[in-house]
Symmetry: C2
Subunit: 263 residues, 2 copies
DNA sequence: AACAAATGTGCGATATTTGAACAATGCCCA
DNA sequence: TGGGCATTGTTCAAATATCGCACATTTGTT
């Protein structure tokens, strides 16, 4: 029962072009570009200046963009929509306390991610006393699938066909000197993760940082993964790794049991 | 330099109707409605079934909605957009550590909110060890302006005209037996908050819960407020209230200094 | 199993979007 | 400081996507 591209239940011509363009404009405001002018948005999206103007005006009218001077930027309004998701799926009330409690136990932040549009997307992250937000990675951040523990575990829980597809088509970027680039090697790592029920990735995405991840739910049906990351030396230490992994497994089990609503 | 409705720099006919409808469909998925069928969305938005179908198809195509069986629900994809805002404005890296540290000091969670579309919108919330997420209120949640400490402080920092406007037009809901309903009384409370530089609201929104709030930045220019909430008895205790308020003021000052990028 | 009700889809009329042409603004240099 | 040039903003008729009716299909009920 593999999910082909053929379970397209709708006709592509029913996709509203204007709506797609509107979101393209919103997405133009990524990390790097905090404020954009109309021409800049036009360049980034490839739409005509007049089109961009119309779309931006609409987004301002909706309260999603704010105009200051001649540039535009995102407003917190978008958080309202995200909040609808978080509350609706009980992330804050159900998931967060579980992550927090296990996180406290091992003294490391635990993150939950799912697959979204070709990357691993952080959905929730445990809170820990004292620790500043380690890196810029927070809820809503994306990680590559091929070179992170979370990503490889996600690929490992899907049917092999999808994983192979990603290995074949995703662009391979050498993030660090240790980044695996050989497709066969990556495939092997994903199979290993699948077989042993967890994944370990050492310094392939960020130098000096290693990650561990385990699936939430059974292989194949798992729709999310949880994981931790830390200094290479610490993660590679056998005792520490065992502690982390067993904690993650127990945590994953608990999440699986209470988290009925899926992602 | 009050902001009238007349600084409409664009012609309303330049607002793209399709894009507006698309967001209306997305917004139909609020707390109460986790899964919606096409007819339900149609009813909630008031659009024709065929229209809703095309819009929903588009949103599925964009990865923002997922179809299961005959109903649709939000996907975590929306968190990606929210993440763009959070990262772009340095919420996670700049704001969060400050909130966490002061929060730790007084043992109570501190929240930051701004005004958005007629309500107070949570933008960030401190993390605290041990404490479960108190209520369902998390980032992206909305609070009424008139009957919460955060809301009244927000109104107090704006020009009096806008505040008056809200008192006049917003629907007055009796959330609790203690909810103020007389417009004059509410107006007085807001003026008081403005005059003294902080607001105190006792059990007007949730029974047994009181809140404190102070502005971030100078009055009039403040674009955000921070606050705490807790059991009525605790907040009303003079010593505790003093401690909370002075901490909030210092915290607000620090945020104002480092948080250059505005909301 | 047959009926009824509710939901999904093709198609022409209509309103919206498009982009090239025009206007306005800001910028650079003499 | 003023004039010319480049960049950005706006208008409007042509082109296109959208709307909602009417028909097809599915689902639930007696």
């Amino acid at each position: 029962m593999t999910k082909d591209a053929t379970d397209q239940w709708y006709n592509p011509r029913d996709v509203s072009t204007t709506l797609v363009k509107g979101f393209a404009v919103l997405s133009a405001f990524d990390d790097a570009r905090l404020r954009l002018s109309l021409p800049e948005i036009g360049q980034k999206t490839g739409y005509d200046r007049a089109t961009v103007r119309r779309l931006v005006i609409t987004l301002v009218d909706l309260g999603l963009l704010a105009k200051t001077d001649k540039t535009f930027s995102l407003t917190p309004e978008i958080l309202g929509l995200a909040g609808n998701y978080l509350r609706g799926h009980g992330i804050g009330t159900t998931l967060q306390p579980i992550l927090n409690s296990y996180s406290e136990r091992i003294g490391v932040e635990i993150s939950l991610a799912t697959m979204s549009e070709g990357s691993a997307l952080y959905i929730a992250r445990s809170h820990m006393s004292g620790s500043a937000v380690s890196f810029g990675f927070t809820v809503g951040s994306r990680l590559p699938l091929l070179h992170t523990a979370l990503g490889r575990m996600l690929l490992g829980t899907l049917d092999p066909e999808t994983a192979a597809e990603h290995i074949r088509t995703d662009k391979l970027i050498q993030y660090t000197p240790r980044t695996l680039l050989a497709p066969q090697a990556i495939k092997g790592e994903i199979q290993k993760a699948r077989a042993q029920g967890y994944s370990v990735v050492v310094a392939e995405f960020e130098p000096g940082v290693a990650g561990l991840a385990v699936p939430v739910g059974r292989l194949g049906t798992a729709k999310a993964v949880i994981g931790v990351s830390g200094p290479v030396a610490k993660i590679q230490e056998a005792e520490t790794q065992d502690l982390y992994l067993s904690t993650l497994h127990i945590c994953a089990g608990e999440i699986d049991r209470v988290w009925v609503e899926g992602v």
